[in-house]
Symmetry: C2
Subunit: 182 residues, 2 copies
């Protein structure tokens, strides 16, 4: 029998910290008729992330403290989508605003829901080629981080050393290389 979806019978909001976060639960009916009264859902904003390569095969990386993993780690330019914003436009904006780079060729690597059970937003991943520095803009973000170019083999070495701490960046790196090499 092919897999069948669950039915949502009721939905409650338990905590609202919009625009950042909403949490609640649902009464869901499973295909076999079982009813779960309190299956959680988590809503955070969707985000775009970009693995941007220069023509010299260097990758635009950020090194900064992230409060989720609570470590200083390598990541890629990324940010939440503005309301109604196209994911590609958001990726281009973040590459420009966070890193001061633009890029020639863009490839969409897919949209992925962050938590398979509870939701928790979605990642829109992109590969950009022909990245080139345009201007470094002052950031009004909460975060302080360093932007640099890392040759792709060095980035893979850094990954093997455990310097990528966030699932968003790990997925983007893996999918970008899959896209390049497949």
């Amino acid at each position: 029998m092919p897999p069948r979806p669950w039915k949502t019978l009721a939905r409650r909001t338990l905590l609202s910290r919009l625009p950042w976060l909403e949490v609640g639960d649902e009464t869901v009916e499973l295909p076999d008729g079982r009813v779960i009264e309190d299956f959680p859902w988590i809503r955070v904003r969707e985000f775009a992330i970009v693995v941007a390569l220069t023509d010299a095969n260097e990758v635009v990386v950020e090194r900064g403290y992230k409060h989720g993993p609570r470590v200083v780690a390598l990541s890629f330019p990324a940010g939440y989508l503005e309301p109604g914003e196209d994911p590609l436009a958001a990726a281009k904006r973040e590459l420009r605003e966070e890193a001061g780079y633009e890029a020639r060729d863009w490839t969409a690597l897919g949209r992925y829901v962050v938590d398979g059970n509870y939701g928790c937003g979605a990642e829109h991943a992109f590969l950009a080629r022909g990245a080139h520095r345009t201007t470094a803009l002052p950031s009004d973000d909460l975060e302080e981080f360093e932007v640099s170019l890392l040759p792709l083999p060095d980035l893979i070495t850094a990954w093997r050393r455990g310097e990528i701490a966030q699932l968003s960046s790990a997925a983007a790196l893996g999918l970008a290389l899959l896209s390049i090499r497949a």
Copy 2:
């Protein structure tokens, strides 16, 4: 100046649905002295996931409905760590219990915090080679899904068609192939 961590000055729990979910916020002090009064945190259980290849280069995949993305999609054997459970042991257990497979060689692909800002658990990703069917066990899980073997090129085609909907599986696939090909 190298990136500096934030300081947590106070921490509150706003919603508790243990063992599944806890949500709260923190008062954090940024390196530049700014204080954020209500930075959210989300706590869900850490999980293990495995991309298991047979010696014929086929991958153990599951096809089922996932309530996070709310679609039927391809994924890999995965599950939450039991309290105190070693991630590798959990990956082996899930491959055996969910799919009825064991494997000869195991490679750790890293631990990745799911949300870079809020936490939301962590993925422990593994590549397993020499996967072979042992026994199919009845599942008492909430989910109904089909287990099958997909030749690796077909899995990559399925990925390009958008049949992977969860960040956990997208990351595991990308990192497994990066590990194999790097």
